[in-house]
């Protein structure tokens, strides 16, 4: 171990020194998820119906839409950090590791973008209830 030489780090050997920030953000998003996802589950259960009109009417209210967007950001950031660790631990080939982390980043960003766009479209009245 050790921090290695400058040349070693250029060659991708040794720590990138992002470990503690990764660890901390995992916990920050976990705390965010704890509150937002609990709210989400309880709110869904309290809805009178799961029909389209009821769901769209619920999402359209500003407090719900903003909370859903924050939930999406927190959850997709959290799952991106968590799955990255799984890839780093279990994919041993360097090329495969890069490939799967890249794929994971695309999934997390595209998924969050699609979810947030959908929430905004409903919230801004783009969907006939």
């Amino acid at each position: 171990m050790g921090s290695g030489t400058g040349l070693g780090r250029v060659r991708g050997l040794g720590s990138a020194r992002h470990g503690s920030m990764h660890w901390w953000r995992q916990r920050v998003t976990a705390a965010g998820n704890l509150f937002l996802a609990s709210w989400f589950v309880v709110s869904l259960l309290r809805l009178p119906s799961f029909e389209h009109a009821a769901i769209v009417g619920w999402i359209a209210s500003p407090l719900v839409a903003v909370a859903l967007i924050l939930l999406t950001i927190s959850v997709f950031y959290h799952l991106r950090l968590g799955l990255q660790v799984i890839v780093e631990d279990y994919v041993h080939e360097e090329a495969g590791k890069v490939f799967f982390v890249l794929l994971l980043n695309f999934y997390a960003v595209a998924g969050a973008a699609l979810a947030i766009f959908s929430i905004l479209k409903i919230a801004f009245g783009g969907v006939a209830a």
Partner: protein, 101 residues
């Protein structure tokens, strides 16, 4: 959970934003036997993850490392998610059976 629940969440929102037909397709799949199987499984996995996460928070601050407390925590993390899953799906199925959907 990160993949299946993530995709289901995106599908639910995108379908709702697309319109009533797309949403009824989602609802039809979600209320099929396969949809219930996945939904119940994900609910259990979600609360298992949440309970373990809370336990991690407690242990991160250095609390609960005594053998008995630690074992109690491990048992709670196994049992409580099952109870919550049972309660949630009893509520949902009762709601659907009443014809509220």
């Amino acid at each position: 959970m990160a993949i299946v629940a993530g995709l289901a969440f995106i599908w639910w929102l995108a379908a709702a934003a697309t319109g009533p037909e797309a949403y009824s397709t989602f609802l039809a799949v979600a209320t099929s036997w396969f949809g219930y199987l996945v939904g119940i499984g994900l609910t259990w996995a979600f609360f298992q993850h949440m309970a373990n996460g809370i336990r991690h928070f407690v242990m991160d601050v250095g609390a609960g490392f005594e053998l008995k407390t630690n074992k109690l925590g491990a048992m709670i993390v196994m049992v409580v998610p099952l109870l919550i899953t049972l309660m949630i799906w009893a509520t949902i199925l009762a709601k659907l059976a009443r014809g509220a959907n």
